[in-house]
Symmetry: C2
Subunit: 229 residues, 2 copies
DNA sequence: TTAATTTGTTAGTCATAACTAACTTTTTTA
DNA sequence: TAAAAAAGTTAGTTATGACTAACAAATTAA
């Protein structure tokens, strides 16, 4: 009630930051997100992100202590979810009705998601008969911001031929994290299971333009969303 | 060729000004447009318009002498036409597919027309099977910026029951212009012909919430686009 | 044709949102 | 645990596009 006025007319930038923070925190399943991480994700200098975080804190969308990690308030998360809903609905529209390909939609949807009109997006949703997933397989939140959380599964639980997306990595083991980045894996990497060796449960995966064999222990600590099976 | 780089990435504001100037010059059929007129149309202070005009001149979209009237270059007009095309296509889409009403479309189309993607608008055009007019009866320019110019007719040439839009007034007679504004008529006013009196050719017109009787001489100097007959 | 009005311009300010550079705090690691 | 590295912050600059206030030129009217 007190911050109803604040909600009106967020700038495109404010919206982008809230969405980015949401993606880092919830969608990519990271436990903590810091200022520099947000800056890197947004492709801006740390000072720029810091400035915006201050602003979003003063407006009640972000919470953090000085030198501490960032969190979204309920209001902040609600806005981010609204943007994600719009983004995914537009992507679906572009692919299904306007002959856009998988790789062309993102840039345009990034612009379309900022159009201010509740009616526009809800009518678009109705026009397409309330699709549940976007062209990348991501779940589209409904008008209330509700969406089915696709449970994260470990890479080790998949079978040959399945395709998945890396959404998180377990624990704070430095050597493990180093290993992950050294072999070129990153959040959002798309991974295909080429082969599961029965005798030791090691698996051969393909991602980007390379393939790599990893142990079960490694795969136990990699969380993915299944895209295709 | 030399200003190909300039063409890339106009800001939303630059686009808005070019479109406004086009509307004033060509669409509304005014002979000359000055800085303050542009400012008023854009709802900004004269200084703001002046500043932007300078910028657009330096980029080769506008031509004018100091203290002189404003004109668009071919490049400037082409950009304006592109925006008008986008605007009218989106308005058509909103009305025909997303259940928007006549009066709801404008504000949203104002936002949508700035989305940067040639493919988006051309595919939208194809999806709707290349509509020729928008919901307000305005002609939609094609992908090359070509459009049929609806000839301007005088108010005096219309018959009872016809509805039209005021798009221009003739000559520079001050008393006439004062008369026009004193009875509450303005550019874009929507006028219905209530009655044409045969004995002196005077006509009774209705617009906004009022009706007024005007002489043939008056009606000879008012140019309109016919909306409905 | 001079005075008044309108129109156009310039100068300086403000907010947004980016930047670099310098600095402080926290975390890591040697 | 002390030094190095990483992470976060602050201060000051830049560009865009608004604004007001003051002023100059052009047009209109007395």
């Amino acid at each position: 009630m007190t911050n109803k006025l604040n909600k009106v007319n967020l700038t495109k930038s404010e919206e982008d930051y809230l969405k980015a923070l949401f993606q880092l925190l919830i969608d990519d399943g990271l436990a903590t997100v810091g200022n520099n991480q947000l800056a890197e994700y947004m492709n801006v200098a740390p000072a720029s992100a810091n400035h915006m975080v201050k602003k979003l804190k003063s407006k009640g969308y972000v919470v953090s202590e000085k030198y501490g990690k960032l969190e979204l308030t309920e209001e902040g998360a609600a806005i981010a979810l609204k943007l994600i809903r719009r983004h995914r609905l537009w992507e679906t529209f572009l692919c299904d009705y306007l002959n856009f390909t998988w790789d062309e939609v993102h840039e345009v949807a990034e612009q379309l998601e900022h159009i201010k009109s509740e009616k526009l997006v809800d009518e678009l949703d109705r026009f397409m008969d309330f699709p549940e997933k976007d062209p990348h397989g991501e779940v589209i939140p409904n008008a209330k911001g509700e969406y089915a959380i696709v449970p994260k599964v470990t890479l080790s639980s998949l079978e040959e031929g399945m395709i998945c997306k890396l959404v998180a990595v377990n624990d704070g083991s430095v050597s493990f994290l180093k290993y992950v980045s050294e072999i070129g894996l990153a959040l959002s990497s798309e991974i295909k299971i080429l082969e599961v060796r029965a005798f030791d449960n090691s698996i051969r995966i393909q991602y980007d333009e390379r393939s790599e064999a990893v142990t079960k222990k490694f795969a136990d600590n990699v969380f993915v969303h299944v895209i295709n099976c």
